[in-house]
Amino acid sequence: MTTTTANLALSRPLVQRSPRHTAAIYIKEAKYEFLKNLRLRMYTVSVLSFPIMFYVLYGLVLYSKQSLAGAPVPAYMIATMGTFGVMGASLFGTAAGLASDRGLGWLQVKRASPMPPFAYFAAKIITSMIFSAIIVLAMFALGYAFGGVRMPLGQFALLVGTLVAGSLPFSAMGLALGYFTGPNSAPATINLMYLPMSFCSGLWVPIMFLPKFVQQIAVVMPPYHLAQLALGIVGAGRHEPSAAHWEMLAAFTMICLGVARIGFQRDKGKLYG
Protein backbone atom coordinates (compact mmCIF):
# COMPACT_ATOMS: atom_id res chain seq x y z
CA MET A 1 0.00 0.00 0.00
CA THR A 2 1.26 3.45 -0.82
CA THR A 3 0.86 5.87 2.02
CA THR A 4 3.12 8.61 0.84
CA THR A 5 1.56 12.03 0.97
CA ALA A 6 -0.71 11.34 3.91
CA ASN A 7 2.26 11.05 6.21
CA LEU A 8 3.80 14.18 4.84
CA ALA A 9 0.42 15.81 5.20
CA LEU A 10 0.62 16.08 8.96
CA SER A 11 3.69 18.24 8.80
CA ARG A 12 2.50 20.27 5.83
CA PRO A 13 2.49 24.03 6.48
CA LEU A 14 -0.91 25.54 7.14
CA VAL A 15 -2.64 27.08 4.17
CA GLN A 16 -3.87 30.59 4.73
CA ARG A 17 -6.49 31.80 2.31
CA SER A 18 -5.62 35.01 0.48
CA PRO A 19 -8.10 37.92 0.61
CA ARG A 20 -8.51 37.49 -3.13
CA HIS A 21 -9.50 33.85 -2.74
CA THR A 22 -11.93 34.77 0.04
CA ALA A 23 -13.49 37.42 -2.19
CA ALA A 24 -13.79 34.86 -4.99
CA ILE A 25 -15.69 32.53 -2.64
CA TYR A 26 -18.11 35.28 -1.61
CA ILE A 27 -18.77 36.20 -5.23
CA LYS A 28 -19.34 32.62 -6.34
CA GLU A 29 -21.54 31.85 -3.35
CA ALA A 30 -23.70 34.89 -4.20
CA LYS A 31 -23.74 34.05 -7.90
CA TYR A 32 -25.08 30.54 -7.32
CA GLU A 33 -27.52 31.71 -4.67
CA PHE A 34 -28.90 34.15 -7.24
CA LEU A 35 -29.07 31.50 -9.99
CA LYS A 36 -30.67 29.04 -7.59
CA ASN A 37 -33.50 31.44 -6.73
CA LEU A 38 -33.87 32.73 -10.27
CA ARG A 39 -34.57 29.17 -11.44
CA LEU A 40 -36.96 28.49 -8.59
CA ARG A 41 -40.36 29.16 -10.08
CA MET A 42 -42.01 29.42 -6.69
CA TYR A 43 -39.62 32.21 -5.79
CA THR A 44 -39.79 34.20 -8.99
CA VAL A 45 -43.56 33.95 -9.35
CA SER A 46 -44.46 34.94 -5.81
CA VAL A 47 -41.62 37.32 -5.15
CA LEU A 48 -41.16 39.05 -8.50
CA SER A 49 -44.51 38.81 -10.26
CA PHE A 50 -46.99 39.65 -7.52
CA PRO A 51 -45.69 43.08 -6.49
CA ILE A 52 -45.12 44.09 -10.13
CA MET A 53 -48.59 42.85 -11.09
CA PHE A 54 -50.17 44.81 -8.23
CA TYR A 55 -48.23 47.88 -9.26
CA VAL A 56 -49.50 47.60 -12.83
CA LEU A 57 -53.07 46.97 -11.72
CA TYR A 58 -53.41 49.69 -9.05
CA GLY A 59 -50.76 52.14 -10.11
CA LEU A 60 -51.07 52.06 -13.87
CA VAL A 61 -54.53 50.70 -14.75
CA LEU A 62 -57.02 51.69 -12.06
CA TYR A 63 -55.80 54.94 -10.49
CA SER A 64 -53.06 56.19 -12.77
CA LYS A 65 -54.63 59.62 -13.34
CA GLN A 66 -55.09 60.40 -9.65
CA SER A 67 -52.79 61.89 -7.03
CA LEU A 68 -52.08 60.87 -3.44
CA ALA A 69 -50.60 63.23 -0.85
CA GLY A 70 -49.28 65.45 -3.59
CA ALA A 71 -47.73 62.76 -5.78
CA PRO A 72 -49.18 61.08 -8.86
CA VAL A 73 -50.32 57.52 -8.07
CA PRO A 74 -47.80 55.81 -10.41
CA ALA A 75 -44.92 57.46 -8.49
CA TYR A 76 -46.58 56.99 -5.08
CA MET A 77 -46.97 53.29 -5.74
CA ILE A 78 -43.34 52.78 -6.68
CA ALA A 79 -42.65 53.72 -3.06
CA THR A 80 -45.35 51.53 -1.48
CA MET A 81 -45.48 48.55 -3.84
CA GLY A 82 -41.70 48.81 -4.09
CA THR A 83 -41.49 48.40 -0.32
CA PHE A 84 -43.88 45.46 -0.56
CA GLY A 85 -41.71 43.84 -3.24
CA VAL A 86 -38.45 44.46 -1.40
CA MET A 87 -39.89 42.96 1.75
CA GLY A 88 -41.10 39.82 -0.02
CA ALA A 89 -37.87 39.30 -1.95
CA SER A 90 -35.84 39.67 1.22
CA LEU A 91 -37.98 37.55 3.53
CA PHE A 92 -38.41 34.68 1.07
CA GLY A 93 -34.84 35.01 -0.15
CA THR A 94 -33.43 34.42 3.31
CA ALA A 95 -35.92 32.63 5.57
CA ALA A 96 -37.26 29.95 3.21
CA GLY A 97 -33.84 28.79 2.03
CA LEU A 98 -32.27 28.92 5.47
CA ALA A 99 -35.09 26.97 7.13
CA SER A 100 -34.89 24.31 4.44
CA ASP A 101 -31.08 24.10 4.42
CA ARG A 102 -31.04 23.87 8.21
CA GLY A 103 -33.83 21.39 8.54
CA LEU A 104 -32.82 19.03 5.76
CA GLY A 105 -29.10 18.77 6.33
CA TRP A 106 -27.66 20.84 3.48
CA LEU A 107 -26.33 23.53 5.82
CA GLN A 108 -24.33 20.83 7.63
CA VAL A 109 -22.62 19.84 4.41
CA LYS A 110 -21.74 23.48 3.84
CA ARG A 111 -20.54 23.94 7.40
CA ALA A 112 -18.39 20.82 7.21
CA SER A 113 -16.74 22.27 4.12
CA PRO A 114 -14.13 25.05 4.34
CA MET A 115 -16.68 27.66 3.25
CA PRO A 116 -16.29 30.84 5.34
CA PRO A 117 -19.54 30.66 7.39
CA PHE A 118 -20.48 34.27 6.75
CA ALA A 119 -20.34 33.74 2.97
CA TYR A 120 -23.52 31.71 3.20
CA PHE A 121 -25.45 34.52 4.86
CA ALA A 122 -23.86 37.25 2.74
CA ALA A 123 -24.93 35.40 -0.41
CA LYS A 124 -28.54 35.38 0.77
CA ILE A 125 -28.49 39.06 1.68
CA ILE A 126 -26.82 40.12 -1.58
CA THR A 127 -29.24 38.01 -3.61
CA SER A 128 -32.19 39.60 -1.79
CA MET A 129 -30.83 43.05 -2.61
CA ILE A 130 -30.39 42.17 -6.28
CA PHE A 131 -33.96 40.88 -6.53
CA SER A 132 -35.15 43.98 -4.67
CA ALA A 133 -33.38 46.17 -7.22
CA ILE A 134 -34.91 44.19 -10.09
CA ILE A 135 -38.42 44.68 -8.69
CA VAL A 136 -38.01 48.40 -8.09
CA LEU A 137 -36.39 49.00 -11.48
CA ALA A 138 -39.12 47.01 -13.24
CA MET A 139 -41.79 49.14 -11.55
CA PHE A 140 -39.94 52.27 -12.48
CA ALA A 141 -39.58 51.20 -16.12
CA LEU A 142 -43.30 50.40 -16.32
CA GLY A 143 -44.21 53.63 -14.56
CA TYR A 144 -41.98 55.57 -16.91
CA ALA A 145 -43.42 53.95 -20.01
CA PHE A 146 -47.12 53.81 -19.05
CA GLY A 147 -47.66 56.08 -16.05
CA GLY A 148 -45.76 59.21 -16.96
CA VAL A 149 -43.37 58.85 -14.01
CA ARG A 150 -40.56 61.39 -14.38
CA MET A 151 -37.98 62.53 -11.84
CA PRO A 152 -34.46 63.94 -11.81
CA LEU A 153 -31.69 61.36 -11.93
CA GLY A 154 -30.54 62.16 -8.38
CA GLN A 155 -34.03 61.58 -7.01
CA PHE A 156 -34.36 58.36 -8.95
CA ALA A 157 -31.03 57.08 -7.61
CA LEU A 158 -32.03 58.04 -4.07
CA LEU A 159 -35.37 56.24 -4.38
CA VAL A 160 -33.86 53.04 -5.76
CA GLY A 161 -30.96 53.20 -3.30
CA THR A 162 -33.28 53.67 -0.32
CA LEU A 163 -35.57 50.80 -1.30
CA VAL A 164 -32.66 48.45 -2.01
CA ALA A 165 -31.01 49.38 1.29
CA GLY A 166 -34.40 48.64 2.83
CA SER A 167 -33.80 45.03 1.93
CA LEU A 168 -31.40 44.75 4.87
CA PRO A 169 -33.86 44.92 7.77
CA PHE A 170 -36.07 42.33 6.09
CA SER A 171 -33.14 40.07 5.24
CA ALA A 172 -32.21 40.22 8.91
CA MET A 173 -35.81 39.40 9.83
CA GLY A 174 -35.71 36.51 7.36
CA LEU A 175 -32.55 35.09 8.92
CA ALA A 176 -34.19 35.22 12.35
CA LEU A 177 -37.32 33.50 10.97
CA GLY A 178 -35.20 30.93 9.15
CA TYR A 179 -33.63 29.91 12.43
CA PHE A 180 -36.90 29.51 14.26
CA THR A 181 -39.08 27.82 11.62
CA GLY A 182 -38.92 24.42 9.98
CA PRO A 183 -38.55 23.68 6.28
CA ASN A 184 -42.29 23.15 5.88
CA SER A 185 -43.59 25.88 8.13
CA ALA A 186 -41.27 28.65 6.89
CA PRO A 187 -43.27 29.87 3.84
CA ALA A 188 -46.54 29.93 5.79
CA THR A 189 -44.92 31.74 8.71
CA ILE A 190 -43.40 34.30 6.35
CA ASN A 191 -46.79 35.00 4.76
CA LEU A 192 -48.42 35.21 8.16
CA MET A 193 -46.14 38.12 9.05
CA TYR A 194 -45.50 39.61 5.63
CA LEU A 195 -49.07 40.14 4.50
CA PRO A 196 -50.57 41.70 7.68
CA MET A 197 -47.47 43.87 8.11
CA SER A 198 -47.81 45.10 4.53
CA PHE A 199 -51.44 45.96 5.02
CA CYS A 200 -50.95 47.74 8.34
CA SER A 201 -48.06 49.75 6.95
CA GLY A 202 -50.17 51.21 4.17
CA LEU A 203 -48.48 49.35 1.34
CA TRP A 204 -51.71 48.20 -0.30
CA VAL A 205 -54.24 50.79 0.81
CA PRO A 206 -52.62 54.22 1.28
CA ILE A 207 -52.03 54.91 4.95
CA MET A 208 -54.44 57.86 5.17
CA PHE A 209 -57.37 55.69 4.08
CA LEU A 210 -56.76 53.15 6.82
CA PRO A 211 -58.76 53.21 10.08
CA LYS A 212 -57.25 55.29 12.85
CA PHE A 213 -56.18 52.31 15.01
CA VAL A 214 -54.40 50.68 12.07
CA GLN A 215 -52.53 53.93 11.51
CA GLN A 216 -51.43 53.75 15.14
CA ILE A 217 -50.19 50.18 14.65
CA ALA A 218 -48.34 51.28 11.52
CA VAL A 219 -45.75 53.33 13.36
CA VAL A 220 -44.29 50.20 14.96
CA MET A 221 -44.16 48.35 11.61
CA PRO A 222 -40.75 48.35 9.89
CA PRO A 223 -42.26 48.47 6.35
CA TYR A 224 -44.12 51.62 7.30
CA HIS A 225 -40.83 53.37 7.96
CA LEU A 226 -39.26 52.18 4.72
CA ALA A 227 -42.35 53.22 2.76
CA GLN A 228 -42.35 56.66 4.42
CA LEU A 229 -38.70 57.15 3.48
CA ALA A 230 -39.46 56.26 -0.12
CA LEU A 231 -42.63 58.38 -0.15
CA GLY A 232 -40.64 61.31 1.20
CA ILE A 233 -38.42 61.10 -1.86
CA VAL A 234 -41.36 61.23 -4.29
CA GLY A 235 -42.86 64.14 -2.32
CA ALA A 236 -45.71 62.24 -0.66
CA GLY A 237 -44.36 61.66 2.85
CA ARG A 238 -46.04 62.65 6.10
CA HIS A 239 -43.29 65.15 6.92
CA GLU A 240 -41.84 63.04 9.70
CA PRO A 241 -38.06 63.37 10.13
CA SER A 242 -36.35 60.75 7.96
CA ALA A 243 -33.68 60.19 10.62
CA ALA A 244 -36.39 58.73 12.87
CA HIS A 245 -37.36 56.23 10.13
CA TRP A 246 -33.76 55.19 9.59
CA GLU A 247 -33.29 54.75 13.33
CA MET A 248 -36.36 52.51 13.57
CA LEU A 249 -35.13 50.38 10.68
CA ALA A 250 -31.61 50.16 12.12
CA ALA A 251 -32.95 49.16 15.54
CA PHE A 252 -35.21 46.55 13.96
CA THR A 253 -32.26 45.16 11.97
CA MET A 254 -30.12 44.85 15.10
CA ILE A 255 -32.87 43.07 17.02
CA CYS A 256 -33.41 40.60 14.17
CA LEU A 257 -29.69 39.94 13.82
CA GLY A 258 -29.56 39.34 17.57
CA VAL A 259 -32.36 36.78 17.32
CA ALA A 260 -30.67 35.15 14.31
CA ARG A 261 -27.46 34.95 16.30
CA ILE A 262 -29.24 33.16 19.13
CA GLY A 263 -30.52 30.67 16.56
CA PHE A 264 -27.06 30.27 15.05
CA GLN A 265 -25.54 29.55 18.47
CA ARG A 266 -28.36 27.19 19.38
CA ASP A 267 -27.83 25.19 16.20
CA LYS A 268 -24.18 24.61 17.04
CA GLY A 269 -24.09 21.34 18.87
CA LYS A 270 -27.58 20.32 17.90
CA LEU A 271 -28.42 17.49 15.58
CA TYR A 272 -30.75 17.97 12.69
CA GLY A 273 -31.39 16.19 9.42
Binding site: M1, T3, L14, K36
Partner: protein, 317 residues
Amino acid sequence: MIATLEQPRNMKIANPELAVANLEHVNMNYGSVRALRGVDFQVRAGEVVALLGPNGAGKTTAVKLLLGLLQPNAGRARVFGGDPTNPENRMRTGAMLQVGRVPETLRVREHIDLFSTYYPNPMALAEVLAAAGLEKLSERKFGDLSGGQRQRVLFALAICGDPDLVFLDEPTVGLDVEARRMLWDEIRRMVDRGKTVLLTTHYLQEADELADRVAVINKGEIIAQGTPAEIKAKTAGKRIRCITSLNLTALRQIPGVTEVREDREAVEIHAVEAEPIVRELLARDAGLSGLEVSSAGLEEAFLELTRDTTNEVTGSN
Protein backbone atom coordinates in the same frame (compact mmCIF):
# COMPACT_ATOMS: atom_id res chain seq x y z
CA MET B 1 11.36 8.93 -8.31
CA ILE B 2 12.40 6.05 -6.09
CA ALA B 3 14.03 8.39 -3.62
CA THR B 4 10.88 10.48 -3.21
CA LEU B 5 8.83 7.39 -2.62
CA GLU B 6 11.24 5.90 -0.12
CA GLN B 7 11.46 8.88 2.14
CA PRO B 8 7.86 8.96 3.27
CA ARG B 9 7.94 5.21 3.88
CA ASN B 10 10.69 5.79 6.40
CA MET B 11 8.51 8.39 8.02
CA LYS B 12 5.77 5.88 8.36
CA ILE B 13 8.08 3.53 10.21
CA ALA B 14 9.10 6.38 12.46
CA ASN B 15 5.50 7.30 13.27
CA PRO B 16 3.40 4.18 13.06
CA GLU B 17 0.65 5.67 15.21
CA LEU B 18 0.19 8.82 13.17
CA ALA B 19 -3.45 9.65 13.90
CA VAL B 20 -5.12 12.11 11.53
CA ALA B 21 -8.50 11.80 13.23
CA ASN B 22 -9.34 10.65 16.70
CA LEU B 23 -12.07 10.54 19.27
CA GLU B 24 -10.80 10.52 22.85
CA HIS B 25 -13.12 9.15 25.57
CA VAL B 26 -16.08 10.73 23.84
CA ASN B 27 -19.55 10.82 25.34
CA MET B 28 -22.34 12.31 23.31
CA ASN B 29 -25.94 12.65 24.42
CA TYR B 30 -29.01 13.99 22.69
CA GLY B 31 -31.19 14.87 25.63
CA SER B 32 -31.60 11.59 27.46
CA VAL B 33 -30.43 9.49 24.52
CA ARG B 34 -26.83 8.42 24.89
CA ALA B 35 -25.54 8.33 21.32
CA LEU B 36 -21.90 7.58 22.15
CA ARG B 37 -20.45 6.19 25.37
CA GLY B 38 -16.75 6.35 26.14
CA VAL B 39 -15.66 6.04 22.55
CA ASP B 40 -11.94 5.90 21.78
CA PHE B 41 -11.22 5.69 18.14
CA GLN B 42 -8.43 6.58 15.76
CA VAL B 43 -7.87 6.90 12.06
CA ARG B 44 -4.23 6.83 11.05
CA ALA B 45 -2.67 8.45 8.02
CA GLY B 46 -3.17 6.53 4.80
CA GLU B 47 -5.72 4.11 6.21
CA VAL B 48 -9.22 3.26 5.15
CA VAL B 49 -11.19 2.71 8.31
CA ALA B 50 -14.74 1.45 8.28
CA LEU B 51 -17.09 2.28 11.09
CA LEU B 52 -19.47 -0.63 10.94
CA GLY B 53 -22.74 -0.78 12.79
CA PRO B 54 -26.52 -1.03 12.47
CA ASN B 55 -28.75 2.02 12.05
CA GLY B 56 -28.80 4.21 15.14
CA ALA B 57 -25.51 2.79 16.46
CA GLY B 58 -23.82 6.19 16.55
CA LYS B 59 -21.83 6.09 13.30
CA THR B 60 -23.11 9.40 11.96
CA THR B 61 -22.64 11.04 15.35
CA ALA B 62 -18.99 9.95 15.36
CA VAL B 63 -18.48 11.43 11.90
CA LYS B 64 -20.19 14.69 12.83
CA LEU B 65 -18.01 15.03 15.91
CA LEU B 66 -14.90 14.61 13.76
CA LEU B 67 -16.24 17.23 11.36
CA GLY B 68 -16.80 19.68 14.20
CA LEU B 69 -20.53 19.79 13.51
CA LEU B 70 -21.23 18.53 17.02
CA GLN B 71 -19.44 19.16 20.29
CA PRO B 72 -19.04 16.14 22.58
CA ASN B 73 -20.49 16.23 26.10
CA ALA B 74 -17.25 14.72 27.35
CA GLY B 75 -13.91 13.91 25.77
CA ARG B 76 -12.71 15.47 22.58
CA ALA B 77 -12.53 15.09 18.81
CA ARG B 78 -9.33 15.95 16.93
CA VAL B 79 -8.30 16.04 13.29
CA PHE B 80 -4.70 16.59 12.21
CA GLY B 81 -3.94 16.98 15.90
CA GLY B 82 -6.20 20.03 16.23
CA ASP B 83 -9.75 21.28 16.45
CA PRO B 84 -11.94 19.99 13.61
CA THR B 85 -13.55 23.42 13.24
CA ASN B 86 -10.23 25.11 12.39
CA PRO B 87 -10.50 26.52 8.87
CA GLU B 88 -7.04 25.11 8.06
CA ASN B 89 -8.20 21.64 9.03
CA ARG B 90 -11.43 21.99 7.11
CA MET B 91 -9.44 22.90 3.99
CA ARG B 92 -7.85 19.46 4.22
CA THR B 93 -11.07 17.60 4.89
CA GLY B 94 -13.90 16.50 2.65
CA ALA B 95 -17.23 15.11 3.78
CA MET B 96 -20.13 13.22 2.32
CA LEU B 97 -23.12 13.34 4.66
CA GLN B 98 -26.67 12.08 4.43
CA VAL B 99 -28.75 15.00 3.24
CA GLY B 100 -32.50 15.45 3.00
CA ARG B 101 -32.51 18.13 0.34
CA VAL B 102 -29.84 19.68 -1.82
CA PRO B 103 -30.58 22.86 -3.83
CA GLU B 104 -32.31 21.36 -6.84
CA THR B 105 -32.09 24.13 -9.38
CA LEU B 106 -28.31 24.15 -9.60
CA ARG B 107 -26.51 21.97 -12.15
CA VAL B 108 -24.08 19.22 -11.17
CA ARG B 109 -21.22 21.24 -12.66
CA GLU B 110 -22.24 24.32 -10.67
CA HIS B 111 -22.41 22.49 -7.36
CA ILE B 112 -18.91 21.12 -7.94
CA ASP B 113 -17.61 24.49 -9.09
CA LEU B 114 -18.84 26.16 -5.89
CA PHE B 115 -17.38 23.55 -3.52
CA SER B 116 -14.10 23.48 -5.43
CA THR B 117 -13.72 27.20 -4.79
CA TYR B 118 -13.67 26.61 -1.03
CA TYR B 119 -10.40 24.64 -1.26
CA PRO B 120 -6.86 25.88 -1.90
CA ASN B 121 -5.89 23.25 -4.50
CA PRO B 122 -9.01 21.68 -5.95
CA MET B 123 -9.09 18.98 -8.60
CA ALA B 124 -10.02 19.93 -12.15
CA LEU B 125 -13.74 19.68 -12.90
CA ALA B 126 -13.23 16.96 -15.51
CA GLU B 127 -11.26 14.90 -13.03
CA VAL B 128 -13.98 15.17 -10.38
CA LEU B 129 -16.70 14.29 -12.88
CA ALA B 130 -14.74 11.23 -14.00
CA ALA B 131 -14.01 10.12 -10.44
CA ALA B 132 -17.68 10.27 -9.50
CA GLY B 133 -18.95 8.90 -12.81
CA LEU B 134 -20.82 12.08 -13.62
CA GLU B 135 -19.33 12.98 -17.01
CA LYS B 136 -22.65 12.73 -18.82
CA LEU B 137 -24.62 14.44 -16.09
CA SER B 138 -22.64 17.63 -15.56
CA GLU B 139 -25.29 19.88 -17.14
CA ARG B 140 -28.16 18.17 -15.36
CA LYS B 141 -29.91 20.01 -12.54
CA PHE B 142 -29.66 18.27 -9.20
CA GLY B 143 -33.44 17.98 -8.95
CA ASP B 144 -33.53 15.92 -12.17
CA LEU B 145 -31.15 13.23 -10.90
CA SER B 146 -32.00 9.77 -9.58
CA GLY B 147 -31.18 8.77 -6.01
CA GLY B 148 -27.96 7.01 -6.96
CA GLN B 149 -26.86 9.91 -9.14
CA ARG B 150 -27.47 12.31 -6.27
CA GLN B 151 -25.26 10.18 -4.03
CA ARG B 152 -22.52 10.45 -6.62
CA VAL B 153 -22.78 14.24 -6.67
CA LEU B 154 -22.42 14.33 -2.89
CA PHE B 155 -19.37 12.10 -3.25
CA ALA B 156 -17.98 14.49 -5.86
CA LEU B 157 -18.42 17.41 -3.45
CA ALA B 158 -16.49 15.48 -0.78
CA ILE B 159 -13.49 14.85 -3.01
CA CYS B 160 -13.43 17.90 -5.31
CA GLY B 161 -11.07 19.83 -3.02
CA ASP B 162 -8.54 16.98 -3.16
CA PRO B 163 -8.58 16.77 0.66
CA ASP B 164 -6.14 14.64 2.68
CA LEU B 165 -8.89 13.24 4.88
CA VAL B 166 -12.28 12.17 3.58
CA PHE B 167 -15.34 11.25 5.64
CA LEU B 168 -17.98 9.23 3.84
CA ASP B 169 -21.18 8.64 5.78
CA GLU B 170 -23.01 5.68 4.24
CA PRO B 171 -21.58 6.42 0.79
CA THR B 172 -23.14 3.51 -1.02
CA VAL B 173 -26.69 3.66 0.32
CA GLY B 174 -29.06 3.68 -2.63
CA LEU B 175 -26.41 2.71 -5.16
CA ASP B 176 -26.81 -0.26 -7.44
CA VAL B 177 -24.13 -2.95 -7.54
CA GLU B 178 -22.25 -1.39 -10.43
CA ALA B 179 -22.20 2.11 -8.94
CA ARG B 180 -21.12 0.67 -5.60
CA ARG B 181 -18.18 -1.12 -7.23
CA MET B 182 -17.21 2.07 -9.01
CA LEU B 183 -17.21 4.02 -5.77
CA TRP B 184 -15.12 1.35 -4.07
CA ASP B 185 -12.57 1.57 -6.88
CA GLU B 186 -12.48 5.32 -6.49
CA ILE B 187 -11.92 5.06 -2.73
CA ARG B 188 -9.03 2.64 -3.36
CA ARG B 189 -7.53 5.07 -5.86
CA MET B 190 -7.71 7.85 -3.28
CA VAL B 191 -5.86 5.74 -0.75
CA ASP B 192 -3.26 4.88 -3.35
CA ARG B 193 -2.68 8.60 -3.68
CA GLY B 194 -2.01 8.82 0.04
CA LYS B 195 -5.44 9.93 1.23
CA THR B 196 -7.04 8.82 4.46
CA VAL B 197 -10.65 7.68 4.44
CA LEU B 198 -13.17 7.07 7.17
CA LEU B 199 -16.38 5.53 5.94
CA THR B 200 -19.45 4.33 7.75
CA THR B 201 -21.44 1.40 6.54
CA HIS B 202 -23.85 -1.21 7.70
CA TYR B 203 -22.55 -3.77 5.24
CA LEU B 204 -19.85 -6.06 6.59
CA GLN B 205 -19.01 -6.94 3.02
CA GLU B 206 -18.25 -3.32 2.20
CA ALA B 207 -15.98 -2.97 5.23
CA ASP B 208 -14.28 -6.22 4.27
CA GLU B 209 -13.67 -5.12 0.68
CA LEU B 210 -12.32 -1.68 1.44
CA ALA B 211 -11.03 -1.23 4.93
CA ASP B 212 -7.60 -1.76 6.43
CA ARG B 213 -9.27 -1.61 9.79
CA VAL B 214 -12.83 -1.99 11.01
CA ALA B 215 -14.40 -0.60 14.16
CA VAL B 216 -17.70 -2.19 15.04
CA ILE B 217 -20.06 0.14 16.82
CA ASN B 218 -23.32 -0.79 18.46
CA LYS B 219 -25.58 1.20 20.79
CA GLY B 220 -23.02 3.96 21.08
CA GLU B 221 -20.07 1.77 22.02
CA ILE B 222 -17.18 0.44 20.00
CA ILE B 223 -17.43 -3.26 20.64
CA ALA B 224 -14.55 -4.45 18.48
CA GLN B 225 -11.69 -3.08 16.40
CA GLY B 226 -9.30 -4.86 14.11
CA THR B 227 -8.58 -5.95 10.59
CA PRO B 228 -11.56 -7.29 8.69
CA ALA B 229 -10.20 -10.82 9.20
CA GLU B 230 -9.89 -10.33 12.96
CA ILE B 231 -13.40 -8.93 13.16
CA LYS B 232 -14.83 -11.87 11.29
CA ALA B 233 -12.99 -14.30 13.57
CA LYS B 234 -14.44 -12.59 16.61
CA THR B 235 -17.98 -13.07 15.48
CA ALA B 236 -17.59 -16.83 15.78
CA GLY B 237 -17.94 -18.47 19.17
CA LYS B 238 -20.17 -18.63 22.22
CA ARG B 239 -20.30 -17.14 25.66
CA ILE B 240 -21.03 -19.38 28.64
CA ARG B 241 -21.94 -17.85 31.95
CA CYS B 242 -22.33 -19.89 35.17
CA ILE B 243 -21.69 -19.99 38.91
CA THR B 244 -19.13 -22.63 39.65
CA SER B 245 -16.65 -23.68 42.33
CA LEU B 246 -13.98 -24.38 39.71
CA ASN B 247 -11.17 -21.86 39.73
CA LEU B 248 -10.17 -19.72 36.75
CA THR B 249 -6.93 -21.56 36.05
CA ALA B 250 -8.74 -24.88 35.84
CA LEU B 251 -11.33 -23.39 33.53
CA ARG B 252 -8.68 -21.95 31.22
CA GLN B 253 -7.17 -25.40 30.80
CA ILE B 254 -10.34 -26.92 29.37
CA PRO B 255 -9.67 -27.47 25.64
CA GLY B 256 -11.62 -25.09 23.40
CA VAL B 257 -11.83 -22.28 25.96
CA THR B 258 -10.49 -19.03 24.50
CA GLU B 259 -11.08 -16.65 27.40
CA VAL B 260 -12.28 -16.73 31.01
CA ARG B 261 -13.13 -13.86 33.25
CA GLU B 262 -14.94 -13.23 36.50
CA ASP B 263 -18.24 -11.44 36.35
CA ARG B 264 -19.53 -10.66 39.84
CA GLU B 265 -20.33 -14.03 41.50
CA ALA B 266 -20.20 -15.87 38.17
CA VAL B 267 -17.61 -16.60 35.50
CA GLU B 268 -17.83 -15.87 31.81
CA ILE B 269 -16.20 -18.33 29.45
CA HIS B 270 -15.63 -17.75 25.76
CA ALA B 271 -15.31 -20.76 23.53
CA VAL B 272 -15.57 -21.68 19.90
CA GLU B 273 -18.26 -24.25 20.59
CA ALA B 274 -20.45 -24.38 23.68
CA GLU B 275 -21.52 -28.00 23.93
CA PRO B 276 -18.20 -29.77 24.74
CA ILE B 277 -17.34 -27.12 27.32
CA VAL B 278 -20.72 -27.35 29.05
CA ARG B 279 -20.44 -31.16 29.14
CA GLU B 280 -17.01 -30.85 30.75
CA LEU B 281 -18.15 -28.24 33.27
CA LEU B 282 -21.11 -30.32 34.45
CA ALA B 283 -18.91 -33.40 34.78
CA ARG B 284 -16.38 -31.56 36.93
CA ASP B 285 -18.72 -29.49 39.09
CA ALA B 286 -22.00 -31.07 40.15
CA GLY B 287 -22.99 -27.94 42.03
CA LEU B 288 -22.77 -25.70 38.98
CA SER B 289 -25.72 -23.31 38.69
CA GLY B 290 -27.08 -20.34 36.74
CA LEU B 291 -25.92 -21.72 33.40
CA GLU B 292 -26.47 -19.44 30.40
CA VAL B 293 -25.18 -19.87 26.87
CA SER B 294 -25.29 -17.01 24.38
CA SER B 295 -23.66 -15.87 21.20
CA ALA B 296 -20.39 -14.00 21.56
CA GLY B 297 -20.45 -10.21 21.70
CA LEU B 298 -20.54 -9.21 18.11
CA GLU B 299 -23.28 -11.44 16.93
CA GLU B 300 -26.09 -9.35 18.19
CA ALA B 301 -24.76 -6.40 16.27
CA PHE B 302 -24.03 -8.46 13.20
CA LEU B 303 -27.44 -10.01 13.15
CA GLU B 304 -28.74 -6.62 12.09
CA LEU B 305 -25.78 -5.85 9.91
CA THR B 306 -25.91 -8.96 7.88
CA ARG B 307 -29.62 -9.22 7.42
CA ASP B 308 -29.52 -7.89 3.88
CA THR B 309 -26.14 -9.12 2.70
CA THR B 310 -24.88 -12.58 2.05
CA ASN B 311 -21.59 -13.38 3.68
CA GLU B 312 -19.70 -15.93 5.63
CA VAL B 313 -20.18 -14.48 9.10
CA THR B 314 -23.70 -15.69 9.65
CA GLY B 315 -22.57 -19.14 8.57
CA SER B 316 -20.82 -19.67 11.89
CA ASN B 317 -24.03 -19.65 13.92
